[in-house]
Symmetry: D2
Subunit: 257 residues, 4 copies
């Protein structure tokens, strides 16, 4: 729908505009250079707004029950989509890829995490893990979190373990013979993961890598959900140039080093 | 024996002089201002050397089987003693105090840890723990360590727990409902303690304290056993002015704030 | 005025109740056990409210022009005062002490910083600085801050320098011969202080102390001004038991170690 | 010379074998799987030893005055070379490339830093710097270091600045109006760099990247020059498969992410 665009600005609709993330996105799009907010769509509103307002891009920050239909509608109408809603299992992703095959000019980004720092930290940790003898993860969160370790820490550890396996690196050395139950943390595919819960914190993760005489630490601190907006904007700016489905914001980052 | 001391220098004998710690102490005493090394006593050597050389002070860095007799000998001959050897259980300490009662001018320091930073970190952590909602400990060591958590971390957690109990502070908030086994670490009297083992590290400990909107972190890094020597020298300089038994180097530090 | 207090709750008036800090204090007092908010006094309101509502305690979070009169009124009417407003120079403090001499049962706390973690970090840093060869300070703040280093960092460095002078410790060793201008930071009485400005941060400070083979780091992170409220409440709970003037929240903390 | 090699082990000569780094390399090669130490060449020894012992690979850890001739000799005799000696200016590099053009099967690696963690940290920092509003560097070293900032910190900052320029990112926001001289550190192409000197430390570097609501920190700690050996061994294992000149160990790392 770029042809509707008089002034080269992306014409962006935000779906889920009244939610916490959605309202942040509304503000971020309004303030971003090169973008125009054309629709803020709430939960009861009709998707026809996207057509009527000439949206070229949409951001979906709704709920798992609504996101699939929203994205399908976008694809069918040639609107590029940046999606932060969860609930995209492999069945849904397969159906979406089939739909995209018939609309080969449309780009869709589905990203479980829009914090650039978190995405980079995870990618760097996976890359570096193969070069060190020892690798562990510490994640630290506010004390209202119900699961431990965090989903991000588990995924980071899995990526690190895969990188080490591919390079033929064995498990981290560990001579522990006598321990208090739990002292050495949880084990995710040979990677020890420790979960701290502390009032005052939000969401933090530190990857520790060690070899004889040296340590590499990669830490990400997330203080506020405003940290997701630069990633959303990067997604909007890139999605039209990446037709088809991209899963994970790292696919849009220039990570060839 | 200060009356034997012509030039005001402390006349120091090092016992266990051929061990790793002992040989460091020999060097440290030789280089220290205001001290003179008068005897370096090895495992087969006679304690009569202390008398013959006019030692006013001794450092005991021997083994649990020898330390009690060494210290008793020192006390009986009016020699002040700084002791880093382990093995001083409550029975031995009681016997020593009785011995000291009959030699009221002699000072003895028995210290499980001579690293000033470690002693300060532990004291600060205990003091601060009562003022925060949340408190956890992370200790990080080389991967050849056989026990987890470290003895220092356990003692630090116990001191923190005691400080919180005395102030009527309850356990740290924790909403964890679902966890991988071990994720939340070991529990030492309500304090969660996490043990990292990483090639390249030596001995490190971080105490994390959190309340709404703020975090206080106290970290000690021990890179080398040379870090014990300033504490040994401080002990030697102070022990004559503190007759009787002092347990723990913190007793010599000016920690009234 | 505790005799007016039927139920043992402190009867608290908040002055400056419509300001940012004041409105946080209103909420904090309302939610605190053992306290009752009896007045929320705005900038145009009469101080007679304190009398009419039977306030036993007041919190002053107003402006430098108003605070002196507010505190004088409180003292004259036997109301204990916890003061976070700046502007108390030595002249005002002297006048206040004279006033308090005539009202010997009243307590006043004037505190430049109510964040318990910041107060403890500063006290610990000052105490520890005398035991290490090297001492430096890094402070990190949001990029809208206009002064560098922060006032807190300057005061911390001054306290550390005083502690080192008193113990006869010389300047930190430094062999730098060739430097880019500014690389070694600012110098506050022999202590190097480095100021980082980074989007995403709020207010953070790290004190680094080093000797051969070891490092002690004391870090405080302030994420939110809600972190001041525990200190305000601690002040309110303690002030009646500390008649006369106390300057600095550390005077109320149990810092004898 | 791999054809001389009965058992597939690399036949390695170490030049500069009596120096600090060289003697570490001798030990590392002796202990490494798949390698055989065939010559430990000191400063007065003849390079003919490389021929006589059938060396297929050499490590040059000598001095700037000797390294050029050593490497030329190696290239002329078909010996792959891994070089850690400094002094390779652009003139020498150009001459070496001409020499290599006539020996197209020979590989040479010239690396200013063999610590894998340092190389990775620098590459990650450069990559990530383009995605954050704010970027600063803190380097921390032992107090005997004569230059500030460290050469590594300057190079890291230059790489970060280049990455930001290429992506059109402006300077980090900074509202500082009033500062003590030096507080904001040195400036390397718009990147602020802070140098800490602390007894007990060796060589450490932390890159801080911040955007609204998040921070990414990448820290490398070098505790011991033993940390260079894994990089030397990686160089030896890879150099034969990379004919021609490679400058920087990062050229051998799998950094495509």
């Amino acid at each position: 729908m770029a042809e509707h665009d008089d002034d080269d600005a992306l014409r962006v609709a935000v779906l889920g505009a009244s939610g916490r993330m959605g309202s942040e996105a509304v503000t971020a799009v309004q303030q971003a250079a090169g973008m125009q907010l054309v629709a803020a769509v709430g939960s009861g509103d009709s998707l026809q707004q996207l057509i009527e307002t000439g949206a070229t891009h949409m951001v979906d920050l709704t709920v798992p029950d609504a996101t699939e239909e929203n994205v399908r509608f976008a694809v069918e109408h040639g609107i590029h989509a940046v999606v932060g809603t969860t609930g995209w299992d492999s069945e849904r992703l397969t159906a979406l890829e089939q739909k995209l095959a018939a609309h080969s000019e449309v780009g869709v980004l589905i990203a479980p995490n829009f914090a650039l720092g978190a995405v980079l930290a995870s990618a760097f940790a996976a890359k570096a893990a193969q070069y060190f003898e020892s690798a562990e993860v510490i994640e630290l969160h506010h004390p209202k979190k119900v699961d431990a370790p965090s989903g991000t820490a588990v995924r980071t550890a899995e990526l690190m373990a895969a990188s080490r396996r591919a390079a033929g690196v064995g498990p981290s050395p560990d001579a522990t013979q006598k321990q208090l139950d739990g002292a050495r943390g949880a084990t995710v595919e040979d990677i020890h993961v420790h979960s701290v819960r502390l009032r005052g914190l939000v969401a933090h993760q530190e990857v520790l890598l060690g070899s004889t005489g040296e340590q590499l630490s990669i830490r990400h601190d997330s203080f506020d959900r405003a940290s997701f907006m630069p990633g959303v904007l990067l997604g909007l700016r890139t999605v039209a140039a990446r037709p088809g489905l991209t899963h994970g914001l790292d696919g849009y980052l220039d990570l060839g080093l």
